[in-house]
Symmetry: C2
Subunit: 249 residues, 2 copies
DNA sequence: CGCGAGATTGAGTTCTCTCAACTTCTGTGG
DNA sequence: CCACAGAAGTTGAGAGAACTCAATCTCGCG
């Protein structure tokens, strides 16, 4: 066995997202100004910065200097509430981390790796500088921010106002499926990289309720769960249960 | 009594928001291009369009041609969930209605006046046209969209993950207070223009629970409620109860 | 192989919902 | 200006959902 193969077995190459599926992609492709085409990617983006599982990418209140996009792996976002950190969202490959910080001095929440991850980074200041000088970049940045607004709104409409806990959990799963689809991954089978406790915290439920309702959804044949892997038996059935059509069939 | 006074008594002048407090204001002030100052306000903005209480401003799925800002009055936003309309948010003076629709073909939700209201309107296409031609306008639009993103994120962080219903309701009140403050109104005394049923629907609770917990919050001296008017006794105490400091003292 | 974090299960308690009755408010027509 | 009707708000009682606590099990990591 060559040392190369050995290396692959012990540390397999991560499943990097395709750049064209990443929400940051408008800012990662060459920009033409006049007769010349400049590629700002190399200047602006630091690609695939590795973070270890459990590592904090940044903490709530830290001075915000970088915007992040996830290239591989996932993370959770938390914010201080009553002396505790509460999970306020998760991020999967292709998604951006705190776009809001573009216009704020500091990060609105903390970000922590749920597994070993790779992030692409853009310097906030550099980005804003270039954007203010080159309308094309300004326009692309606008596109990125607008899309972010749309995504947040869709997620929040979905997650919001579910009457009972079973619907909340179903909506959570559907939301993740939708986002995996947007990032070009399988959206009927994926890994729940966060713990049950994280999910419970995010949804405002107890972990026991999360576990019991996962099981209930499984018993009603909507999903199959085994450990951290989930499979949606019928996206349409799940959408019907939640009452919102997020994914078109 | 003069006919002027008569008029005031029967139909008092609405409490229009000051333009400089409106979230749309960056797009409502003159833009200087080269040596000349153009005022796009007149061309772009149709000001103070009146809608009657109960009237639908637009319906979910309607072709989105206008962006709205509220000049006076308030409205509720609703979206279809399982054959019903569910309240997904409210809007107060100074706030924008569906900024997301700027980059979408249709409105993501319906908007209905909770009282007689006045709206300022900007044609989506006109705005996008001008923005793409004049970097200064593009930049201002960017500012508006970014701020919207920040506001939505703050609201959703606040409203999200409250464990029990009492905290949810307290967070709801705090959120409204914060928004009234942003719009330059009193944030310790304001009117709840929506019904208890609307609040319940928005928070995912029953109207009876809303009523009972309003009373409970009143008994613990955090607020005073009488019909539709609310008074926050101590914003700090309320923030402490919710566990998030949204309004700095 | 053993430890510790995470996941699961059961039992009892608390919270929130539902249903129904009743009161108050509001807007409309006479 | 009053009377009335319908909408909104309030209250109480009982049912059901979700939480807490505690014990146990499982799995991944060192």
């Amino acid at each position: 066995m060559s040392s190369d193969e050995q290396k692959i077995l012990t540390k397999p190459e991560p499943d990097y997202i395709a750049c064209d599926k990443c929400h940051l992609s408008p800012l990662c492709s060459p920009v033409t100004v006049g007769a010349h085409a400049y590629d700002f990617t190399g200047k602006m983006v630091n690609r695939r910065h590795y973070f270890k599982r459990g590592e904090m990418i940044f903490k709530q209140g830290d001075k915000a200097e970088l915007i992040f996009a996830i290239s591989a792996g996932s993370l959770k976002l938390t914010a201080h509430v009553k002396d505790n950190d509460r999970v306020i969202d998760f991020r999967i490959p292709g998604e951006l981390i705190d776009v809001c910080s573009l216009n704020e001095g500091s990060y609105a929440y903390s970000a922590q790796a749920l597994e070993d991850i790779y992030l692409c980074e853009i310097g906030k200041e550099t980005l804003n500088d270039i954007a203010s000088q080159i309308p094309e970049v300004q326009g692309r940045l606008m596109k990125v921010v607008s899309q972010e607004l749309i995504n947040i709104q869709k997620s929040s409409m979905l997650m919001h106002g579910n009457i009972n806990s079973e619907e909340k959990i179903a909506a959570f799963i559907l939301n993740l499926a939708w986002r995996y689809k947007n990032s070009g991954y399988s959206y009927t089978r994926f890994k729940l990289s966060m713990t049950r406790t994280d999910i419970a915290d995010f949804l405002g439920l107890s972990k026991e309720t999360v576990i019991r309702l996962f099981k209930k959804l499984q018993n009603s044949k909507l999903i199959q769960i085994e450990g951290k892997s989930i499979r949606i038996n019928s996206v349409d059935a799940l959408q019907h249960f939640v009452g919102i059509k997020l994914i078109s069939s």
